[in-house]
């Protein structure tokens, strides 16, 4: 996205609920009040998700269990977000990481990475050199938006009751614990050539892959090796083909999507979702996800890398998997969309087919989100993070006043910061308070 390539790498304020970026905090807060904190019944704009929930409970005697228009997995009203305050640190780091990947790569901009480069980030910058977003122009974006809107409308019609089946979802938001990861790779592999059982057997494996997505490097010690390295090679065609991961996905995205203005992926994607244990999330309003799109490609590039690299058993060799996978994807595009796609699927086409890969990746993106959600539900409450959330929620649950928490990166300034002396001691030393000077 053109404007995203702005010189400065500092993150602009972004909305945790829909991952949209804003010029400044004010606009972001306006957006949140309009999109996420608005009472669906009387349109009153509240100050926070918690406030909205309480308002609805008190005024309309109804229970709201999710934040409207939020990305799957982010609908919990339990986390008190106000502007960019209160964003869970993990998500913040995750987002920052993704943005960094996207923005930071082109042409040695490392020095501008003020937030301190991480080692694998350096690798990317040196190895890559192409941004996924670099070649999208505004028109393509618009096209994509249109496609997406259409798809979303359809989706919305299908699931006119956005919240069904969701009751418990927001509560279990906390991220998946690392312990799940080890299991997901060996066990969660769904062989590329298992089409028949695929539809039914989808849920469990899926539920396990998202961890890599949710919080890629920071949480999982082994994630970087998997998730990062795949990225740089994928930006080069040569290395892409040398990658064992690249062949399978190549066919699907291009032929199937490129022809029609409404990519099958988008239409199709929701469908399998119904078969999944958890129905899709409240469809985001048509407009808003446009902006959540930009962040998409990088994670897709890296995360599928994680998924495919680890979930596919080693045996499926390039030649083999090309054959087996291709049919699948043609038969049922959705399943393919569900399948983690190696980075090559997206990156090599950046120049020519960007809209479509973008579109399909959104389908995947959604699904990844959904599965993420499912995963959370299936994995149940998670210890440390739940604790963290509930603790930080102390003030947050307050009806009267959302207590903004300083977001990461903010510095605090103590009004009085002397650790040695109390203010009274200092003050008592003043001449006019001294014993001798007084009567």
């Amino acid at each position: 996205m053109g404007r995203k390539k702005s010189k400065k790498l500092e993150l602009r304020p972004w909305c945790w609920y829909c991952e949209r970026e804003f010029e400044d905090e004010k606009v972001l807060i306006q957006h949140q009040k309009a999109k996420h904190f608005k009472c669906s019944i009387c349109s009153r704009r509240l100050n926070s998700a918690g406030g909205m929930v309480i308002h609805v409970a008190q005024v309309h005697k109804e229970n709201v269990k999710y934040v409207p228009n939020a990305l799957p997995g982010r609908e919990t009203p339990d986390i008190e977000i106000y502007g960019s305050l209160g964003i869970p640190e993990d998500d913040f780091a995750d987002y920052e990481q993704r943005m960094r990947e996207k923005l930071g790569e082109p042409a040695n901009k490392k020095p501008r990475n003020q937030n301190g480069n991480i080692s694998y980030n350096d690798n990317i910058s040196s190895g890559g050199g192409v941004t996924y977003t670099a070649d999208i122009d505004a028109e393509q974006l618009r096209q994509r938006l249109e496609q997406h809107r259409l798809a979303m409308q359809q989706q919305q019609q299908q699931y006119s009751m956005p919240d069904f089946g969701y009751s418990s979802a927001p509560m279990s938001l906390p991220p998946v614990p690392p312990p799940h990861m080890p299991m997901s790779h060996p066990g969660g592999g769904f062989p590329p050539n298992a089409p028949p059982g695929f539809g039914g057997a989808v849920a469990p494996p899926y539920s396990q892959m998202p961890p890599g997505f949710v919080r890629p490097p920071p949480v999982l010690p082994f994630a970087p090796p998997f998730s990062r390295p795949p990225v740089p090679p994928s930006t080069h065609r040569a290395s892409r083909f040398s990658s064992p991961l690249s062949p399978p996905p190549l066919p699907p995205p291009i032929p199937s999507i490129s022809s029609s203005s409404l990519p099958p992926t988008l239409q199709g994607a929701p469908v399998p979702a119904t078969g999944m244990p958890r129905p899709p999330l409240p469809p985001p309003p048509p407009g808003h996800q446009l902006f959540s799109r930009p962040p998409v490609p990088p994670p897709m590039a890296s995360i599928p890398g994680v998924g495919s690299g680890m979930q596919r058993p080693p045996p499926p060799l390039p030649s083999n998997s090309t054959h087996t996978v291709t049919p699948i994807s043609h038969q049922s595009e959705p399943t393919d969309a569900l399948r983690p796609r190696p980075p090559a699927a997206i990156s090599p086409r950046t120049g020519e087919q960007e809209p479509h890969t973008g579109g399909s990746s959104i389908g995947k993106h959604n699904i990844a989100r959904q599965t993420q959600q499912i995963n959370k539900q299936s994995s149940g409450p998670v210890g440390s993070d739940v604790g963290h959330a509930s603790l930080t929620a102390f003030v947050d649950a307050s009806a009267n006043a959302p207590m903004p928490k300083p977001a990461k990166g903010r510095t605090t300034l103590l009004v009085y910061s002397d650790a040695q002396l109390s203010v009274e001691e200092r003050r008592a030393q003043l001449p006019r308070y001294r014993l001798a000077s007084t009567s």
Binding site: M403, P404, L413, V415
Partner: protein, 340 residues
Amino acid sequence: MDSNQTDPQIRDVEINQPPSDSVSELAFNPKANFLAASSWDNEVRIWEVMDTGASAGKASYSHQAPALCCAWSKDGSKVASGGADKAGRMMDISTGQTTQIAQHDGPIRCIKFVEAENSSPIVATASWDKTLKYWDLRQQSPIGTVNLPERAYAMDCNHPMLVVATAERKVLIFNLSNPTVPFDTGESPLKWQTRTVSCFTSGDGYAIGSIEGRVGIQYVEPKLKDKSFSFKCHRDPSKGVETLVYAINSITHHPIYGTFVTGSNDGSFVSWDKDSRHKLKTYAKLDAPVLSSAFNGDGKLFAYAIGYDWAQGYKGNLSTIKNTIKLHAVQEEDVKPKQR
């Protein structure tokens, strides 16, 4: 900060003849509506307060240096105070007589009556000379002396528990059945200098406030210790990238509901319910730091002192800051735990 803030302070009544310098501590008589305030102008003043908010100065006495603390006896008959003149003084309200009851080697920062209900008064004083002393008001010498690890900064008592917080974040807990041996010595859960402590009305723990806009809720009972937590408050994130963090100057528990009010040098006070972990009410900002606060015996009146707390040294000592004490009629819903 909040859209649903009201401005109750407009209705708050300023006390008659407020102290000429800032207040160091406010204390309400537990039995009757008498308010005592120790002040940096050396005086300890006592007002009688009507339910209407009208007040009349009843008595005052002075230290030879700033009075740093004051407290009422459990039966409400005596007020005691400590000052930078290293002396503890007491006034008997019925007779109006003032006597010196305590002596330290350094300024007395904290004073409390620690006797059990319906027994003869005992005063505990904690000082910057790193001692805690118990006095029975009849003898010249203390009935007990405890060496503290550091200068005492804050103290509160809910019989039989006495909590003393000192510099370097030390916290000592005494069981008054064995008052000279600390029941527990530990560090504050907060990372910054302790400003204030206040015992729960339930008697099983205390709240501690630091200069870094944070309150720790600490349970003393071993089996309840897991329930301890802390939370941030009195912060102003609106100043660019920097969040201004204010000190918690006072924590005051409501005598009936057990909720508490934090007062801060950001000029606001907020009521909290620690059990449901809810903020109950944010009061509109005042134009000066809240120095100290107190509920009266039945919890229907709330007195708070505003003035300069010297947190910013000379440069913050503006002539526009007014030293005064105000009386606030407590709205029950502001202090009553919400049922959910």
